[in-house]
Amino acid sequence: MHKEFLMGNEAIAMGALAAGVQLVAGYPGTPSTEVLETIARRNPGNVYVEWSVNEKAGLEVAAGAAYTGARALVTMKQVGLNVASDPLMSLEYIGVKGGLVVLVADDPGPISSQTEQDTRTFAMFSKVPLFDPCSVQEAYEMIQEAFDFSEKYGTPVFFRATTRIDHGYEGILIKDPQEYIRHEAQGFIKDSSRWVIFPRLSVRNHALIEKRNDELSDTLSEYPGNRILFETGAGCQKGIATHGINFMYTTDSLEGRNARILKIATPFPFPEKLALSFLEGLDEVLCIEELDPVIERALTFVCGKYGLKVKIRGKLTGDIPPAGENTPELVDRAVTGLLGPAAGRASAPETLPEPPALPVRPPVLCAGCPHRASFLAVKEAMKGKKTIYCGDIGCYTLGNAAPLDMCDTCLCMGAGIGIAQGVGHIEPDTSCFAFVGDSTFFASGITGTINAFYNQANMTLVVLDNSTTAMTGHQPHPGTGRTVMGQVVEKVSIEKVLLAIGLKVVETVDPLDFQAAVETTKRVAAQPGVKAIIFRSPCISVIRPEGKSHVDEKKCIGCKKCIKSLGCPALTLDSDGKKARIDDSLCTGCTLCEQICPADAISGGRKNGLAAGKEEA
């Protein structure tokens, strides 16, 4: 054992390695991404790791490994689970031989997601047991237990953490590589009565799963991750039931206040016997949960089932907000509402006078981001026309912000392509555009494009190819020609994919060549049917600038066109508020401002991008 300062996701990865994981697959998504990246970085050499094309592919690859008896891990964020849900729902009926852990990172807030869905609820729906750790150290230990559990009961298991665990750091004790479990896979053994899903197998296994989960409820009542703390005596009348990081907020806030605490690490199957001992003698229980009221519903059910007269409070009674991330302050207020103020604490904290207006900083496209140039080119090309710009999931969703205002819809990965078709079928006079990033195109854009082509839609597909998965921290994908294990592989060509589908017009252009980008857009959008533009220019963090742009104060006429049309964070006004100024530490030399300046006052930017219009071999 040794001590390391690790991010929660790193700790989960190190725990999986210690448990002898042999295959890890996943698709990037905040806050889950670092788990797979850490496995790749700390790989002792015997672990197969891949960034899969999407979560469904990743889960299927992991299932195959688990069928052979190997231990496998698949990683994703909560919305990725929706993509993987098709194989997962069936896999629960089939079961696994080697331990299979489905790591899902939930995002209360949400901080970087479309939904606030709760994987604990998904566990109930899919009947897959779930582990929910409360700290980085517990996550490290619990993922090892999750592998054992999965293998022992022959079921995939969820390992679900939330942002504050995934992205929290802690100095923790971990195993040395020589302490890792070495796991030998037995190999796949043919048995169609086990591995082929048919209605007869489904109904038989459904019954077995329900029976197993009932039994697991008893087993999990003994599991140390689920426990009762502090006031366990008969005199105690108030209890708090909580989970995950909220358990930490709760214990941090107690400051000597007495309550019986129930910590739930496996909300499904719910440890009913443990809950019964917790409820014994209590009058009132406050459930402090994030996302869905899972524990609250379970306790209300237990009270009904056993005729207990305990008042269960939480989200369903309005004591905890139904949505959003909980904070230490929110939890402390709820604890105070139940138990009264902590002794010795000032009744009213010192209040500060109202501060001056704070700077408003919504996230924006980076200075020099090629997406800005692509959006500006389409905006310029389609000026005065009736259009819809369907956006998608990635950095380019930020194209919605002023002054670009180039994202009219955003739903989920790849959805923009379908939405553009639907709008076009009802409004034939609208020019329908779907913007999709390179990684998103591979993950879930191809089927939508085939749908459009086959069903005679009229739309322009715009692939924003920055040669990386930028939003989640630059993971390789099929178009990059690299894998996470460091292999150089043949690239999947977006152009060739589109041409193979049957598209007749597929044009590639460098968006940083503004005039060429505008003309290409005009030409392509005027064609009938499904056509595509590929704006290819690498992400600013992939290519370094060779020269940065500067404003010639003598030439600048102070028209602010650069500032008002680009919204580039490197462009501000000088201290007099008269002339444009470029922040040298932010400029990446994209030259877009130079190209649109009416006074020819900006120069000096240089960037060695990929050659426009040419595909890399």
Partner: protein, 192 residues
């Protein structure tokens, strides 16, 4: 030792690396350490923070409001934003140089950095202003702003670590060719 420290600024200013350096110093002294920070979409030019909790007794990595011993603000407005976390006799180290948001350049929102500094001086007993522009110009690199601010926190005595602790961490974590630059940055406040 028990210390609660918040670093705050704008995405890209180097708050995360500074938080790592403090965490390493705590690890070197074998102190319990928890941190939390902004990762993801908000990093794209948004407000970012790191919470650092050192010593026994903390459970969650987030510092409750009114409990921070020290705030290191990489930007005036961001320091004010985090001020509710500072305890009544806490210390603020703040870089005077503002980062103007796109919304202000576009005229959609107002931002008066001087008003932020005035507000801090009026409401916090221990404010240490750092001329980050002057420091990074003198040192010849805008990348070492974070270490300059750490040095200022060290000088204030509110960091809870010694100069030797931080020098050791720089030695361990900074690549050889940038080591001298970072050492100078750490002592810039004292030697200026």
């Amino acid at each position: 030792m028990r210390k609660e420290i918040i670093l705050c600024g704008v995405g890209g200013q180097g708050t995360i690396l500074a938080s790592r350096l403090i965490a390493s110093a705590a690890m070197n002294r074998d102190l319990p350490i928890l941190t939390a920070e902004t990762i993801g979409m908000a990093q794209r030019g948004g407000s970012v923070f790191s919470h650092i909790r050192i010593g026994e007794g903390a459970g969650s990595p987030l510092i409750p409001k009114g409990k921070a011993d020290l705030i290191i603000g990489f930007e005036p407005g961001e320091a004010v934003r985090q001020l509710p976390f500072l305890k009544p006799d806490g210390t603020i180290v703040v870089n005077k140089r503002p980062v103007m948001p796109v919304s202000a350049s576009l005229g959609q929102s107002a931002y008066n950095p001087q008003a932020m500094l005035d507000y801090l001086r009026q409401n916090v007993r221990h404010v240490i202003l750092v001329d980050g522009d002057k420091a990074t110009a003198a040192l010849g690199s805008s990348k070492v702003l974070n270490v300059v601010l750490l040095g200022a926190a060290l000088e204030s005595g509110a960091l809870g670590f010694s100069e030797e602790d931080l020098q050791k961490v720089l030695q361990e974590r900074v690549p050889e060719r940038f080591l001298e630059l970072n050492r100078k940055a750490l002592s810039w406040m004292r030697n200026r």
